[in-house]
């Protein structure tokens, strides 16, 4: 190449190789991928729901190092189909009933596209005012939909922030509570701080406490019982607190749950907050799963008592059509978060922040950089509207009720805990199983657990549907969580048939 040409190439700034954001190429490849994904949704029922690959499958199919030369998108998409899709567990399949849903939607997807397309880094107001302001607005919208007390809204002196996940939300609030308390009692007392949850509380609280430097010995997973529907009782909480105080420890933080992961149990917020208040404990309400459905007036009562809590969170990425990740956290006292999480290095100083007229969300969370997450929730709320969102959530509850009804008609099965929302915990009852499976285990309950675990594995291996399990009060249960965005009632009926077929097979073996 002549030097003039080299100069021209340099003027283009890319040495003539790549134009990473060429609008027309963006358009061409973008349309390709939209079609690819539309076809994926059309065909998603054809794939086994739980991936059937063996550990290490992908290493055998891909090169050991990155390519030196570029490869066309068409080839890459072929590889996605050939190598990646078989290794996916299809959370968007209508036959997905595992864990909790990860409910995608067109609106959520488009919001994420816009966010990724703009690709701004919204750490403070200045870095992209729209990102901060839309987030505050949408968090107030959602807070109103949930009828949160105004103290949780910006309009009432509190405020909301979008975090990635509940783990982050809980960690932020634990750290805020910790620093508030240590300011009062002195840093030397850090090993005396105690964090409370129940034996049904999500592991996120234990992990958050660990990360925040709370002594692992001071994490209380207070026992729940079937008699109380696996909710944490105020009495048990009080007894545990009293015992800790007697030992010279300092109660710090309670995580109460609306819709536990194992069984969607509900902790009674009112009585728990009353106890916590007496002892000056920060109460966080984790409604990661069930928060969504509380926008329906008939479910709102589950949140009664939240007015006495300090913070509240739910995951819009679970059962609210907003793609991963989007955990909505509200606090009554944002300055507690800011005091614990704020840093203000010179390179981030700016006029708007100095005026204190703006929110700088970097001080409400663990990370500095943050995506423009509010776009996707804004699109979900506007694209569907409150009325349709309620209908949609209710349709899932109705499908879960249907499944429960089907279980009720088959005497071999039992529903282990009362269904609160759209998740059903069930098993084959020990009586049905009898002694046939008793060879390698001892008690009737152990036999039943062993059998139900085998049943679940057989079902999941079939690839027809996917469920997961838990152990609640010693009982191994199959969890049937309705909530995937494409699930219709026919899928629930089909799922029940799959369960029955596998049970028939195992029971006659």
């Amino acid at each position: 190449m002549g030097s003039l040409q080299n100069q021209e190439i340099f003027e283009n700034g890319f040495s003539g190789t790549i134009k990473p954001l060429d609008p027309e190429e963006f358009r061409r490849q973008g349309h390709l991928v939209i079609d690819f994904l539309a076809d994926y949704y059309k065909n998603v029922e054809k794939y086994p729901v739980r991936s059937q690959v063996e550990p290490g499958y992908l290493k055998k199919r891909v090169p050991g190092s990155a390519p030196y030369d570029p490869e066309p998108i068409e080839e890459i998409l072929c590889d996605v189909k050939k190598d990646i899709i078989p290794g996916l567990t299809h959370w968007q399949s209508p036959n997905y009933f595992a864990y909790f849903p990860s409910s995608g939607s067109i609106a959520g997807f488009l919001g994420e596209m816009l966010s990724t397309g703009f690709n701004i880094v919204g750490f403070n107001w200045m870095s992209s005012p729209a990102a901060t302001e839309l987030e505050s607005i949408v968090m107030d919208w959602l807070g109103k939909m949930l009828k949160l007390p105004t103290e949780f809204l910006f309009s009432g002196g509190g405020g909301g922030v979008m975090q990635g996940t509940t783990c982050e939300a809980i960690l932020c609030t634990v750290v805020a509570a910790r620093d508030q308390m240590l300011k009062k009692i002195g840093r030397d007392e850090i090993n005396k701080l105690v964090v409370y949850g129940s034996d049904q509380t999500h592991s996120a609280i234990q992990k958050a406490a660990q990360i925040a430097g709370i002594n692992p010995e001071n994490f209380r997973a207070i026992a729940t019982t079937k008699a109380n529907a696996f909710g944490l009782t105020a009495q048990a909480l009080r007894e545990t607190i009293e015992s800790d105080i007697e030992s010279g420890l300092v109660p710090l933080f309670l995580c109460a749950t609306i819709g536990t992961t194992s069984s969607t149990a509900v902790d009674p917020l009112g009585p728990l907050c009353d106890v916590a208040k007496e002892y000056g404990i920060w109460v966080h309400v984790d409604a990661a799963y069930a928060g969504s459905v509380c926008i329906c007036p008939e479910y709102r009562h589950f949140l009664n008592g939240v007015e006495n809590a300090d913070s509240f969170s739910f995951n819009a990425h679970k059962w609210f059509l907003t793609t991963l990740d989007c955990c909505c956290l509200w606090v009554k006292n944002p300055s507690a978060l800011v005091k614990a999480l704020s840093t203000y290095p010179e390179y981030l100083r700016n006029k708007a922040s100095e005026t204190k007229q703006v929110v700088d969300y970097k001080d409400w969370q663990i990370t500095l950089s943050r995506r423009f997450r509010s776009l996707k929730l804004w699109l979900v709320l506007r694209s569907y509207g409150v009325a349709n969102l309620r209908k949609f959530l209710r349709s899932h509850v109705k499908m879960a009720k249907n499944f429960e009804g089907l279980i009720g008609m088959d005497k071999r099965f039992e529903v282990v805990v009362p269904r609160n929302f759209a998740t059903v915990c069930f098993c084959i009852s020990p009586i049905e199983i009898g002694g046939n499976y008793g060879q390698i285990v001892a008690s009737e309950e152990e036999t039943a657990n062993y059998f139900n675990a085998k049943l679940l594995e057989a079902i999941n291996e079939s690839g027809k549907i996917y469920m997961t399990h838990s152990v609640i009060g010693g009982v191994y249960v199959l969890r049937f969580a309705v909530g995937a965005s494409m699930t219709e009632n026919r899928h629930v009926n089909f799922a029940w048939k799959v369960v029955q077929e596998h049970a028939n097979q195992l029971l006659t073996m």
Copy 2:
């Protein structure tokens, strides 16, 4: 409606209202948004780079609560154009030279689309084997591109994980180091632990230490000097450590930086690791910005010494065409992370995890839920290839050199610190400013700082380009960071003209 129709509606599961993942509607709306974004890129130069809105602008434009009824996507996109875009600071603009780049690309965007489309939750291997396996593979690819010692790769007993941001990566490693140390010396000693960085280290380390419960008094921001190009010297580190030990404290963690945020200074890894090793300190290397360019052989020497560090991270979302967020973290000893961050509740137990043949990334990070981030980095590496990525990065360095050259030709300006990569720190020198601006401030240096701050604000208010500032060794500098994906050399030349014009205006006022 008749009851039969109701029944049919129920069979569809949606009460006839919404089909959130209808493939054809997905296709239609998806294409709309692709075109919307392609047009945005085509027009991005027309917008003021730094948003010109006032605090509270958006509240005045949007309703106070979420709509009850659905709204069409066409209307929402109109509002994005009308209400959101004016509130954006355009990180994708070719005239964006602020902070560090947030370099988007078609490949990164498409990878994020696929990840969002599949919307899997990849906390453990089982939840979607492809997500875990592709991540491990891509992290090994990238590790090889950076010529990281094999101990950092899965193939060498270490391994890599994709976190959201450096803040998370550092927090995870601080917590791992903390727990390792407390196991040795006892939890009661937590307030004795000391964390080290320099006065140029990113605020992420201080925040991570705070969150992890390290006594804030035990965070050392060791002074750097211009004589050492604002790098942390081994001698200063040793002296600080020795002084802490004499005070009965316990040195824990050092964060060394390759490319600091203020001035892209480089800490000398070799000597620092030697000192750290003597005292049993965990060394994390933060190459958030400059890590990218170290895939070019001529820059790899900046990483020399990393073989004696414990962990290493860089942000692919900064200067590596991978959309936010994607921080790549490698550790030599994954079990230190897993010990500190692992939880294993019943509902996550599964056969694959029990066999210990698989990686469960939930134990390598703060959160449980995690997106399928590796898709976007995989697409970036394959779509562009190693050769083009190197060329692309070099083109930015070349453009920054060009800018530096332009500064050199105007005697009123000076480059404040030597340029290492594609960021230039410069100012108008105090001599030029003279006494004209001395009314409200005292010394010559303060006058100059005041003047340069005014210059920067005038430039940014023009909306033509966007730069940010820092204060280095007492000097207020304008930071010119090349790296936006659409920046060509003509934009750099234009930027210099804008700087000169505003300087002319201010100097003759």
